[in-house]
Amino acid sequence: MVAMPVEGDKIEFMVFRFDPSRDREARFVIYEVPYSPGMTVLDGLLHVQKVLDPTLSLRYSCRFKICGSCAVYVDGVQTLACETQVSSLGRRVRVEPLPHFGILKDLVVDIDPFLEQMESAMPYLHPDPGNEEPRVDPEEHERYRSPSSCIWCAACTSACPIAATEPFFMGPAPLAQVYRFAVDSRELEGVRPLRLVRADSSASGVWRCHQVFACAEVCPKEINPGRHIAELKRMILRQRLRGGA
């Protein structure tokens, strides 16, 4: 265990830099950032960008793990820069872009393929116009409460070993959304079987998941997509047994 840094200590931020339009290859640059108690990795990166090197690019916005902008790879782990205390990391911090995504610049990755996968999961309810004031059993609410708190940060898809090698696999967050909407009774009748059919696809669906649970390990909202995928598998099998669509 490394000793906790104290006020004024220099923390070495080893930051991945790459501008595809100018650089032939990526490099790490080390920046010395003065430590102050409570400092997060995002605070450190912003000190670099505002004071030391204005050309550094990163995404961030809310700074309290609700917007999902700042997912990066810190010392080899997918995490939100805003939630990671520097004091938990020692005196050198390595920051890289999320693995398995294209790099647009420095720490900024192209999340559009992730968004396409999210959209392919139909992450929306088809409202039932006949149900003006839906009643929802609190137990049902409890089933989709956790996956509803997804912030679309893409950390889970970046960490998933299957998603990394199989581009057709929808990945953890999208499948957690399939589950989230498949257990919501406010959905228009008839849509739920279609969701299960989609999740049943051999190329992109739940059967690609090998239950490694890397997704659950990195999720900043403590969602467990692996568990939701397992539940989807059970729902699909039940639907097959019933001979449903």
Binding site: G38, S61, R63, G68, L104, K105, E132, P134
Partner: protein, 566 residues
Amino acid sequence: MERHEILVVGGGLAGLRAAIEAKVRGRDVAVLGIVYPFRSHSVAAQGGINAVLGNVDPTDSVERHAFDTVKGADFLADQEAVELFCRDAPARVLELDRWGCPFSRLPDGRIAQRPFGGAAFPRTCYAADQTGHAVMHTVYQQALRLGVEFHNELAALRLAMDGGGVRGVAALNVRTGELEAFAAGAVIVATGGLGRIYSRTTNSHHSMGYGMAMAYWAGAPLMDMEFVQFHPTTLYGTNILVTEGARGEGGFLLNSEGERFMERYAPDRMELAPRDIVARSIQTEILEGRGFEGEYVHLDISHLGEETIMERLPQIWDLALSFAGVDAREEPIPVQPGQHYAMGGVETDADGRTRVKGLYAAGECACVSVHGANRLGGNSLLDCVVFGARAGAAASEDVPGKASGGEDAVKAAMKEAEERIDSLHEKAGKGGYLNPYGIIGEMQGAMWDCVGVYRDGELLSRGVSRIRALREEYRSRAGVPDGPEAFNLSLVDSLMLEGMLEVALTVAEGALRRTESRGSHYRTDHPGRDDEGWLRHTLAFPSPEGPLFEDKPVGVTRWQPEERVY
């Protein structure tokens, strides 16, 4: 040049609700945002959204919601607009429920409602303590389902204007560094708040007030800018929001003597008095030496028990642990006031129309006004969905089919935007230029020190001259070296700073001008409310020298101003 019938600038809750309304009315609509819609600051709202559903107390009424809102506003709200706002509320909230919003439920399956500051009944619907996230994602999901077109990571820089009004937008594509031109029959500005003009704020890094400035430059006056809400409970050290729901669920505020000090300030409503009153009470405790380390007081929720905390306030528990190292099940949370919300904004009618043809505004960047001098908790998410929908409807009605023309105006806006960028690069090329972040830091400090919770003429004059001086410095010396094209953050922030300084000046000068205390605007040199002199809105118009002010009467219909006791 891309053309749409309706262009929405800002992909947060108000913008997307407007876009959905336009889309279902068959309009060609696109949304342009500086971040992806689901990254918008709307996700940061925690405590809830108000609507009279009567699920917990059936004796609640729309009239009572309206009265609470007007009294909370210290009578500066326009009462007709408030009544309409509260009437629309149940339909908008039930619509969110049909769209799949994960609201917390009562045992009988109806939407749960909790007590909130300044409200006579438990009428705040919530999704644990992440209501903004729940509502924002629900609305984004429906926008996806309906096929709304998005242009993400574009910063709108200038509105295109000609004799026919607003004709489009010139925007910087943050990904490519290229300027992009958009022509439109109507532009709805929904860019959110201005929190980042202050050093202590709950707002996200992208709440920069730029949309307000852009509308102001186009000739739409900014209204009631001096009314800035300071949230009573932000986490000491980071000013991360700690929801009013923590007090709604029964949390206590305690000073260093262990006393529930709200007894002295609002004996009836205690911790659930409106935010302006609670924020001042906390500030007074701190100033009079009854705070901790001269900086904060305690918010104690430990007596609520683990079950309630983990079910209704899980995010607060997590945030206190992550960012203050405090386990709220066992220890009190250190809190202090911080900037939270702009009651003021682009003057609109109740349908989002501004004085400029083709220009609409909705959400926090707009001022109808339903929040007057102080917004009630739970009314801001509601504002976004009610007035977002109304602005989307109005723009859909006003735009005459496939609009054409205005290309020259858009080209002129593009040229102006290009000149701004060139001038920043040029100054950096000369040497002796100023890094924008120094100016931003000084502006934030000046606004907090001089235009904060407690104000007086001397402080405010100092604030005005500091902001004016910074504006001069920005104009003459701020520069950005020629750098990478993609994601050039210092270029984007330097451009945004122009708007931030502009709105900061309307806040500071508006506050100096208003010689009374009302709602969030408290002047120690004019401690009383002065209905004779100041029961009126402030309008700020742009001029090269700075804002020019006018007054506008307040719409008082049902409720005459009375003394505000809680």
